[in-house]
Assembly symmetry: C2
Homo-oligomer: 625 residues x 2
Amino acid sequence: LYFLSDPELMDSIPQAYLSHKEKYEQAVRKACWLFKKVTLLRDKGGDLEIFRQTLSGMLGSAILKDGNPLTLHYVMFLPTIVGQGTVEQQAEWMGRAWNCDIIGTYAQTELGHGTFIRGLETTAHYDSKAQEFVLNSPTLTSYKWWPGGLGQTANYAIVVAQLHTKGVCHGIHPFIVQLRDEETHKPLSGIKIGEIGTKLGMNATNNGYLGFDNVRIPREHMLMKNAQVLEDGTYVKSPSDKLTYGTMMFVRVILLHDMAGYLSKATTIAIRYSAVRRQSEMKPGEPEPQIMDYMTQQYKLFPNLATCFALRFNANWLWNMYNSVTAELEEGDLDRLPELHALSCCLKAVCTADAAHGVEILRLACGGHGYMTSSSLPSIYGLVTAASTYEGENTVMLLQTARYLVKAWQQAVGGMVLTPTVAYLKDALTQSNTPRHWENSLPCIIKAFQQVAAGKIKMCSENMDRRIQGGFSPEDAWNMTSIELAQCAEAHARAIIIDKFAESVAELTVSAVLKTVLTQLCELYGVYWLLQRAGDFLMYSHVSARDITGLQQWMEQLLSQIRPNAVGIVDGFDICDEILSSALGSYDGRVYERLFEEAAKSPLNKEPVNISFQKYLKPFLKSNL
Amino acid sequence: LYFLSDPELMDSIPQAYLSHKEKYEQAVRKACWLFKKVTLLRDKGGDLEIFRQTLSGMLGSAILKDGNPLTLHYVMFLPTIVGQGTVEQQAEWMGRAWNCDIIGTYAQTELGHGTFIRGLETTAHYDSKAQEFVLNSPTLTSYKWWPGGLGQTANYAIVVAQLHTKGVCHGIHPFIVQLRDEETHKPLSGIKIGEIGTKLGMNATNNGYLGFDNVRIPREHMLMKNAQVLEDGTYVKSPSDKLTYGTMMFVRVILLHDMAGYLSKATTIAIRYSAVRRQSEMKPGEPEPQIMDYMTQQYKLFPNLATCFALRFNANWLWNMYNSVTAELEEGDLDRLPELHALSCCLKAVCTADAAHGVEILRLACGGHGYMTSSSLPSIYGLVTAASTYEGENTVMLLQTARYLVKAWQQAVGGMVLTPTVAYLKDALTQSNTPRHWENSLPCIIKAFQQVAAGKIKMCSENMDRRIQGGFSPEDAWNMTSIELAQCAEAHARAIIIDKFAESVAELTVSAVLKTVLTQLCELYGVYWLLQRAGDFLMYSHVSARDITGLQQWMEQLLSQIRPNAVGIVDGFDICDEILSSALGSYDGRVYERLFEEAAKSPLNKEPVNISFQKYLKPFLKSNL
C-alpha cells in the first residue's frame, strides 16, 4: 500500500480513455516515480524482493496496468550483463545500469525470427584494424522488433547478432550498443529506431524496432564471459554451449508464477461476481438465485479455481528443481539439465495456454459485464495470452519436450535407467499384464494420466518408425507425426501437473479442513481433465466407458462440495481491491455501484452534449428535412 | 470501393492511436458521412442490400472498425417500429426515422438483467387521468445498460419496460421515448444518460446507460400492434405471445452470417501469412520452409478453413428455414416454430463459440505479429467474442435447445412423429440391434454424430429421471444434469452442422475439382470434431478405438491434400485488402513492409524524442548520479 495509495501512481483518468501517446507518457511518468521509490527503499536497506514484486508480480501490473517501459532494463538488461559479461565488463556497466544512469533493453527477436533464434539475421562483423564490431541489418526482416522499452525509452541495448570474424560466422552473441545520446536522447547515427505500434494489450511497454546501418562499437562491447573475440579477431569458443540455457529456463519458471497470479485474479473476480449476480428463476415463484448456484456456472468457475492451485504448486516445484539443477551445474554436473529443459518447455506451454483459456472462460462467465474494461478481465487476458507466444512459442515448446520423450521411450525399451519424471514409462512396458482396476481416487487418476502419456509416447514412436520404414526421412516422419507428438507432450505435462499437485497437497501441514478442500480441488482438476480427454483415457488407460459415467457424477459432486467454500477460497488469495482493480471483483461486492462509478470517469460523460453533435450529427439530421 | 476509396471514410491516424473520446467523434463523423452516401444511393434507386452490407457486413466493419454508433437506429429502432407499431404509429414515426430526422436506439438490457428478459425492472405505470405512462428506474440494477448509440448519439429510444395498469403488472412491453432535445441535444428532464465506458472491443459503438425519474410519455407511445392499453387503462392481450420470437430468431440467423464473415477474414489473414512466413529448419542445411508446411500449423489453419464453409452453408440453410417458417406463420401455422427456435439457439451458441475460438487459434498461429493491432486479428476477436454473450448467452441458449431435445426424446420413446431435425432419435432407439460398421466416409461420420447426439440425449433423460425418482424436484434434477444437457445440445448442433454442410456441398453445381476440395473440407470438419470428442464417439457411436487411429491418419491425409489449395481457397473468399485491413493478410504478401508502414503511422514515431524524456526520464536518470 506504500505504493498503491500514492497519488502519483494513481490515474485521474483511467488509461483506457487516453490516446496511445498519452498512455506511453503516463507510463514513463509512473515508472520513473515507482523506481525512484523502490530505489529509496533499497537504499534504506529494504530487500530486493520489492524489485521482483514491482517488476513481475501483482503490484507492478496494478500500477502500470498496460505494461512498463522500464521492465526490460531490470529483467533482461541487468541480468544479461551479470550472466554474460566478464568481471571487467560488469565493473564498467553494472554501476551505471544499477543507478539508472543509463536505461537498457534486450534486443533479440527480429521481424523475421522469434523462437528460432539461430535464424536471426543482424550481423556483427569484427574489424580487427579498428578493433570494432560493425553492426548491420542486411534485410528488412533482420530489424529488431518487439523489445520492450526500445521504441522511445531506452538509450542502450543488449543486441543479439550473428558474429562474423575472419570470414567465419560463429552464430549469435550478445553486444552492448548505445542507441541514443545520453544528453539529448536523439538516436545515434546509423540507428533506425521507433515503436512498433498498438497491440492487443500491453500498450504502454513501448515495444520497438531497431535497425543498424554500419554502426560501430568497440570490441569490449561484446559480452565475453563465455565466448570471446581476441584483438586480432581470433574466436575463442565458450566452454559449454548449454550454459546459456539457464536464463531461458529461469524466465519460464517465473512465467508459471505469473500465470498463477493472473489466473487467481480472474478467478477471484468471476467467483465474487457470481455470488453477487442473481439471474433467472430456478423454481417458479422463488427469488432469482446467485448465478454460482447454477451447475453450468460452477463448471466454468471451479476447474479454474483448481488450476490456480495446480499452477502455483507446480511453479514452486519447478522452482525448487531449477535451483537444485543450477546448483549441480555450478559443480559441473549437467546430467539433469535435459530433463529440466524438457519440463520447463511443456509446462510453459500447457500452463500459459490453460491460463489464457481459463481467463476467457471466466470472462465469459461474467456475461456482458466481463467485456467491460472496468472488469479488468480484458486486460488480464491481454497480458496472459501474450505468454503463449513469447519465451518460446507453445507448439515449438511442446515439440521440444516430445523429442525428449521419444528418446526416453527408446531408453525405456532398451532397459536403461530413466530420469524421475519419465520413470512412469517403465510401467507402460508391462502395463498389459496388470489387471484392470478402477476406483474414483486420486492415485487411480494419477496412474491413468501416466498411462495415457506413456501410451501416446509409445504410439508416436511407433508411428514414426512405421513412416521411416515406409521410406520417409526421419525429418518428414517427425513432421507427419507432429500433431500427435505435441499432444503427447501435453499429456506428459498433465501427468506431471496432477502428480505434483497431489504430492504438494499431501505434504502441506495445514488444518484438516483446508487439506480436505485442497484435496477436492486436486481431484476436480484430475477428473475435469480426464473427462476433457476421455477419448485418450478410453484408449490408453484402464478407464472404461462405465467408469466415465461414474467420473462425471464424481465431478458433479465435487462441484457441489466446493460451492460453499468458493468465495472463502478466493478471499484466501488475499488480493486487495487496489490490485484486483475490478468493478466486478471487489471484496465488498458493490458490483453495480462500481460499474457506475467507473463509467462516470469516462471523459465523454463530463459534458452533456459532445461536440460531434454540432459538428456532424446535427447537420446530418437536418440535411434530410 | 465507392465507399472504401472515399478519403472522408479513411483514417489519417489509425483509430487505435486515438483517445476514447476522439474515437467516438471520428465514428460519428464517419457514420454520418457513410449514411448520407447510402441515402443518396437509395434515392438514386439503389437497392436496400447496400444498407445490409453497410450495417452488418464486411463493408461496415471495414469503415468503422470499432463499431458504429448509428447501427441500432437501422437494425433495431426502425424494425421494431415496423414489427410492433400499429399502422398509425408507423405513419407517425417511420418517415422521420427513415429520413434520420431523429436517431433512435433500442434499450432493453439493464445493468441487472440481460438474457433473462422477464427479470427487467424498468417500470411504465399507466396514469389514466393524464393518459400517460410514467417511466421509472426503481433500482440501480434497473438502469438500461449496453444499448449502442445510447450514450451521446441517439435522441430517441425504444424502451422495454414492465407495464403496470390498474394495479396489475402485464410483463414487458416496448415504448418510444424521447431522450434528448431535438435542437440542443440536451437530455430531457428526468432522463439520466451517459456512456458505460471502454470495453474489450467495439469502443466506438457508444454503448450507454439510461435511467428514468418519473418520465412521462403519451399513451400513444406504447407500441401497440400486439398488446394494447386502452384510454381507461384496460389491458388488451396480444393474440399470440409467440409472435415476438420472430425478431430474436432473425437476429440470430444474421449472426451466423456475420460469424462466417469474420472467421473468413481471420482465416484469410492466417493462411496468407503462413505462406509468407518462413521459419526454422525442417531438414539440416535446407532453406527455412513456409510455416504452412508444418503439420501442426495446418492443424491450426485448415479446420478453421473448413469451419468457414460449415458456418456459411448452415447460415444459408437456417435462413431458408427461417423464411419458410415465417411464411407459414403469416398463415397462422405455428407448428415448426419450436423446432426453428431450438435450432437457432444451439447453432447460435456453437457457431459463435467456434468462431471466437477459431479466431484466437488463427491469431496465435501468426505468432507475435498476430498480437499486433495492424494484423486486424485482435479487433476481429473483439467483435466475435462479444457474440457469445449478446443475443442470448451461449450456455442459456444451449439449455433452451436441450429442453426441446429432452421433449423430443420423450416423443420418440412414445412412438410419436418427430420433426425432421431430430428424426435421427428414432434410429437411436433401435441402435443396439444394428451391426457395428465403420469406414472412413462422410455418411459414416454423419451417422456417428447423430448416434452421439442421440446417446447423450438419452443419457441426460435417464439421469434426470433417476434424480427425480431419487427425490429431487424436476428443477433441481435439471440443474444437476445441466452440464451434460448443455453438452448434448452441442452434440445435436454438430450433428446438424456436419449434415447440412455435406448436404449443401452435394447439392452444389460446381466444377468437379471444386467439389472435391469442398468435400475434403467437409470431411476434415467431421473428422476433426470427431477426434476432438473422441470419448463421446467411443461411448455412444459405432466408432472403436482402432477406428480412432485410422481417423487420425485420415485427418493427417486431408490436411496434406488441402495444403496445396489453401491459399487458392481463401483467395476465393475474395475479401479485398481494404476490407481485410491487415498487414499480415494482404493479397500481395508484403507482410514485413506493411508492418513497417503501419508502425510508421504511430504518433510516437513522428518525433525523434518524446516529451516524456525531458519531463520524466531525464530527471530520473540524473537524480541517481
